[in-house]
Amino acid sequence: MEHRPELTIVSLYPRDMNIYGDRGNVLALSRRARAHGFEPVVVDVNVGDALPEQVDIVIGGGGQDSGQVRVSRDLVGRAAEFRALAEAGTPMLLICGMYQLFGHRFLTASDTMLEGIGVLDVETRAGAERMIGNVIVDSDEFGEIIGYENHSGHTVLGPGSVPLGRVKQGAGNNPDEGFEGARTHNAIGSYLHGSLLPKNPAISDFLIRTAAERRYGSFNSEVAVDETTLRARESAKRRPR
């Protein structure tokens, strides 16, 4: 059997932050990495676990509030580690709860301040209304991003982050500005699940390409998007909000 170069994917807090199909992102990323000729190695990092020595991609998801408190305490202890990884250009995908905690802070509905780790220049405040439904985002880098949002956090970006894209349908970061997600270096934060990566292989490709270039110096693989994915994107776009 041919030797496939490895890519280590750190799956953050799968035990506490696994509520909206975040496992789908790990599955889709692994499958796509394999299609590009890599051998994905998924390392679960839960509260108290050490990070592996090699970290090529970081991926984290959402949780209900009770899980978020436990996780935020653990995460703050690793702030320096993650900031260093991000500054060095490690690709990251942080969904929903992890998006909020990779920002500076999150003020919850019960007025508790959860300290974040400031990898992304964003700040979140819980709002009265939940933003729920199908979302379509236009992104310069990734084209049309299709997902589903379900959050009450209002997230505002500072100058150190740029939005992932402009919302064509749905709310996104907050009900007022019409933007979704945030990006600093190669770390992407987003409210979108659905799951996000299975229907948005362009984002998987970005994570894999960036990781491969950093670890192996180059990346020149092209893999077409299959019909099932295209049809799933089309049907999701036709559905009501």
Binding site: N18, D65, N150, H193, T228, A232, A236
Partner: protein, 440 residues
């Protein structure tokens, strides 16, 4: 006099609505508007009061089990049979069954309560007995989050006057039991009873918390394990063994699947609580055997492992509406020698978010494959199966065409369709043109 007017108005509206082919809950809506106290007044006249059944999964079949066991004990039982589990559905059912003077000819009401809509209900009617089944990830985009659902169930528990029956193996529901016991304190009401599983069966029941290797019985908690009133100790094909008061009782069952069987333990514990409260002298006859004889006869509620016949072969409809339910559905039924179809819609009642499909492991279907995938989100389902290397024969969003394709692809074998709620309703409607389907 007011009961009389409201009942007559309701019955009139119902007759008119029927003529127009209207919905079953419409007369309930009218009476609810005209006379908000109607439901509470009528139900408060029942000698054994109200039994409420709530939780995210399995309410309908469990309610059916409780009703049939109580009826076998000679009780007259009022229930919301149509699956209209909101207040106006309950009122519509009262209107249908009450005499014109607004009296229900019943000893007890057993009502399935949707977690969120139950708040409106318990403001009007206090259940005497409550059964809380589980808090699994169900339609999160409707209720927000799991913790919110748990708070709703806590409020139903708080409104319960006599006995609260809880699932010992569900972390959130067991916690509600503990809280209630603390709050009941010395005067001891409501009393809390548990139903549970033996240690070696725990692994068979995937909950939400343990999906990533967590534990069932809140590990690290110091409090000793509560003794369960009814424990499921053994599972076989259409057989189960329950431990009650230290004795093991084996019984045949028409119900199939891990889920239904565990819910039978819940129903038994609830019926035992009602039996113990009877003061009509029949309570002495409350041995376990007569209950089990009634339980053995219970058929699953529609869509809950319901068996139809198509082209001379059995066709099973399995309702799936959240990850834990889908996982149990897959684990409950043998995947070999069966034609499989999956139909997933994303209407409001199904939940619009497809994320949940990614929390189900479909590897058990890899050997046999899935003949047809259908529903408004057929392509999402197909994409999900692709990621578990499950072969898909055909993707056909339209339910009618999907049934035809499924019949064509699976001649001469038993068939099974896993379907979301509105997909199930649509399939039943189309299947009723091809075979006998019980009207609901």
């Amino acid at each position: 006099m007011r009961d009389f007017f409201s009942t007559v108005i309701g019955k009139t509206v119902r007759a008119l609505a029927r003529l127009r082919g209207g919905g079953s809950a419409f007369p309930g809506l009218v009476v609810e508007r005209l006379d908000p106290g109607y439901m509470g007044r009528v139900l408060s006249t029942l000698p054994l009061g109200v039994v409420a059944v709530s939780g995210t999964n399995g309410k309908t079949t469990t309610t059916k089990m409780i009703v049939e066991m109580l009826e076998a004990q000679g009780l007259r039982v009022f229930t919301n049979r149509t699956g209209s589990n909101y207040s106006r559905g309950v009122i519509a059912a009262i209107i249908e069954e009450a005499t014109v003077s607004g009296k229900l000819a019943a000893d007890v009401a057993v009502l399935e309560l949707d977690e969120a809509h139950a708040m409106y209900f318990i403001d009007r009617v206090k259940p005497r007995f409550t059964l809380l089944l589980n808090v699994l990830r169900d339609q999160l985009d409707r209720y927000g989050e799991i913790d919110t659902t748990a708070r709703y169930l806590q409020r139903i528990a708080d409104a319960t006057s006599e006995v609260l029956v809880v699932n010992r193996e569900d972390r959130l529901v067991a916690e509600i039991g503990r809280q209630t016991r603390v709050r009941a304190g010395e005067h001891g009401s409501p009393q809390v009873r548990e139903f549970g599983l033996t240690e070696d069966l725990l692994d068979t029941f995937p909950g939400d918390d343990d999906f990533h290797g967590g534990v069932h019985r809140g590990a690290g908690e110091e409090s000793p394990q509560a003794d369960a009133d009814v424990t499921l100790v053994k599972l076989g094909k259409n057989r189960a063994t329950f431990r009650i008061d230290g004795a093991d009782y084996e019984t045949p069952l028409l119900l199939e699947g891990l889920y239904n069987t565990y819910n039978a333990a819940a129903a038994l514990a609830t019926v035992r609580a009602v039996q113990a409260a009877r003061t009509d002298g029949v309570a002495g006859d409350s041995g376990v055997e007569p209950l089990l004889r009634a339980l053995a006869e219970v058929r699953p509620a529609f869509g809950r492992g319901e068996k139809l016949e198509l082209d001379g072969m059995p066709l099973e409809l399995v309702l799936v509406k959240n990850p834990a339910g889908f996982r149990l559905g897959l684990a409950s039924f043998d995947a070999t020698g069966v034609g499989v179809m999956i139909a997933i819609n994303d209407q409001y009642a199904d939940g619009r978010d497809m994320s949940w499909l990614w929390d189900v492991d479909f590897a058990t279907l890899a050997d046999g494959g899935v003949s047809v995938v259908s529903g408004t989100r057929a392509w999402d389902m197909a994409l999900r199966l692709e990621h578990d290397d499950v072969r898909v024969g055909q993707v056909e969003e339209d339910l009618s065409r999907a049934i035809e394709a499924f019949r064509h692809a699976t001649p001469g074998v038993p068939r099974r369709i896993y379907c979301s709620y509105t997909a199930m309703l649509g399939l039943r409607k189309r299947l009723s043109e091809l075979t006998e389907v019980e009207e609901i």
